[in-house]
């Protein structure tokens, strides 16, 4: 009993600086942002009313949700395939999968965005190649639009989707799969009716993480969107630094944080934190 208590005390002491840092660096300043949203330019709920009527804010919000949803579906599907290989493949396959997951993970988001511009632009590798084999005559518009944004974001987020899936797949009891096979289920059927449902928590966790991340993306849409796919983070930037209209910028931030907070709460209802790593 004493041991447990002092362990807890020790853990609490170790956690305290982190908690203090989070409060000082994030929570406290954010209260200032909340204050702006109610006080700038005039005190009251005006900024929140404006949120409901401002069609720029609304169209950007809808676009952000739409892009986040598409990116989530594509990332999780791709990550699922990669993770299956990573967790259940042969040692050589695992090594390749690991390499494919980790290397992009270490490259900065900025570098990757410019990499995609180089690949997807009119005279980029893909268009040049497609033209040289005569598949197309005019370059395809692959970048500086929503398509480019989705490609760039998906590429960035796949590794984040892999970890919860890997955790779910690793904790799966192999004997269940063996039993299914033993009872005469085909490989495909075992995969779809046993394996996939049993990794559901990983799929939910991975989808929520990717979705939440997508909502706050700034650099990738700014570079690959060509000004045409403004997402919510860039709109906040515009309100704060360019317009500048802090009140509305702050109100959008508050709504976004609340929205993300709600999603996180949902996430932790379905998934235990340790399953996410």
């Amino acid at each position: 009993m004493r041991g447990v208590l002092s362990d807890r005390m020790g853990a609490a002491l170790l956690m305290a600086p982190l908690l203090l840092f989070l409060v000082l660096a994030y929570a406290w300043p954010f209260l200032g942002v909340v204050k702006w949203s109610f006080t700038l330019p005039t005190p009251g709920l005006g900024q929140y009313e404006a949120l409901l009527t401002d069609d720029l804010v609304q169209s950007v919000f809808i676009r952000t949700l739409r892009i986040a949803a598409i990116v989530t579906v594509v990332s999780v599907a791709a990550a699922y395939a990669i993770t299956v290989v990573w967790v259940r493949g042969s040692p050589a396959q695992r090594l390749i999968a690991e390499f494919c997951i980790l290397v992009p993970f270490w490259i900065s988001v900025l570098t990757r965005a410019f990499g995609w511009v180089a690949l997807l632009s009119n005279r980029g590798l893909i268009n040049t190649w497609l033209q040289s084999i005569g598949f197309i005559s005019e370059p395809l518009a692959l970048v500086r639009n929503e398509f480019g944004v989705i490609v760039g974001m998906t590429h960035f987020l796949i590794p984040f989707a892999v970890f919860p899936l890997a955790s779910a797949m690793r904790s799966l009891d192999d004997r269940v799969l063996l039993a299914a096979r033993g009872l005469g289920s085909s490989r495909m059927r075992t995969f779809w009716t046993v394996f996939v449902p049993m990794t559901r928590s990983g799929i939910i966790g991975s989808a929520l993480i990717v979705f939440v991340f997508s909502l706050g993306f700034f650099v990738t849409p700014a570079i690959l969107g060509g000004g045409r796919s403004v997402m919510i983070a860039e709109l906040i930037y515009l309100r704060i630094f360019q317009s500048p209209d802090w009140g509305l910028g702050a109100a959008i931030s508050v709504v976004l944080v609340l929205f993300v907070g709600a999603l996180m709460a949902l996430l932790f209802r379905y998934v235990r934190p340790r399953q996410l790593i």
């Binding site: 954010f30 200032g32 009119n122 700034f218 570079i223 000004g227 930037y237 931030s253």
Partner: protein
Amino acid sequence: MNDTKKQAIETLSERTRRGEISRRQFTQLAAFVLAGTPMLLRSTGAFAQAKELVLVNWGGDAITAYDAAYGQAFTKDTGITVKMDGSGPTEGAISAQFKSGAPTWDLVDVDPFSAITLGAQGALEPIDYKIVDKTKMRPGFGWEYAASTYFFSYVIAYDSEKYGKDAPTGMADFFDVKKFPGKRSLYKWGVSSWEAALLADGIAPASLYPLDLKRAHDKIAAFKENVVAYWGGGAESQSVLLNGEASMAIVWSTRASLIEQDSGGKIKFIWDQGLISPGALAVLKGNPGGKDAAMKFIASAQDPQKQLVMFDKLGQGPANPAADALIPADKKRINPVDPENMKKQIALDMDWYAKNYGAALDEYTKIISA
């Protein structure tokens, strides 16, 4: 909107990295909302000594250029060190400095229209024209809260191989995709796009302001399918032309001459109907280095020889007319304020921008991103 300006991404990441104490709420808002990026908290200016001035500009090459042209000489003459900070003094960022109650910045390389707005809010010191010499500025380019130190322009750059001998002659050609087929690129933050649309629509340069935004936005909306990208920073504007995504773009004159060089003369630019804009220095109210030292710095930056260094390094057109004659004959062509070039251009109306920019930009963003 300056030379190296509004490079949204660069600026934001730089800002996040720096996280000066007085802008803490700001950077954290950005970091928290955008990515939750942890950052290093560093309290520079909080301990700034009186023998130091912090000049904030738009980063990149501007940091070394400002230091070489203005900073080092000022330190030699006065003993006051000048630190360059490239984090980008947008109107919102200056406002944050002021509202923090303890600014860590002294001088900012600011848009004159932002200086008008910020001055009215009480965030800037009035320029002390007893120290700063008004005769060393072009008439009309010294404001109550900001003094012009250079010029740049929004000009048309085009692919000369594609158009052969038919060079565009103005904004009407920019919007004419029958005569000049190919994709276009415009500025993401609106400035110059409105003027270009209205000039193309037949409005005379003299009656451009106040801008008829409705008419400009209709023209821009109808033109959208021809625009391949709305560039947000200088580097982006260069790349859309160099890699052939756009055959014609409205870019900063400072970049236009670089693009011409980098493309071996394939991409050219014209001054006709260019939109000329001053860059200015302003002093934060209650700046840590003291008002007088900051005013003296501005006065020292009026020296034609020093402005010549900025022309050489960044392509900034000198604010002091006395510098015009010092520019070598072969370089006069790329000087935005050379009398030959100046007469082809139209000056942006800073008072109009001070009043209308925010709302106009919202409407513009709505149209280009719809």
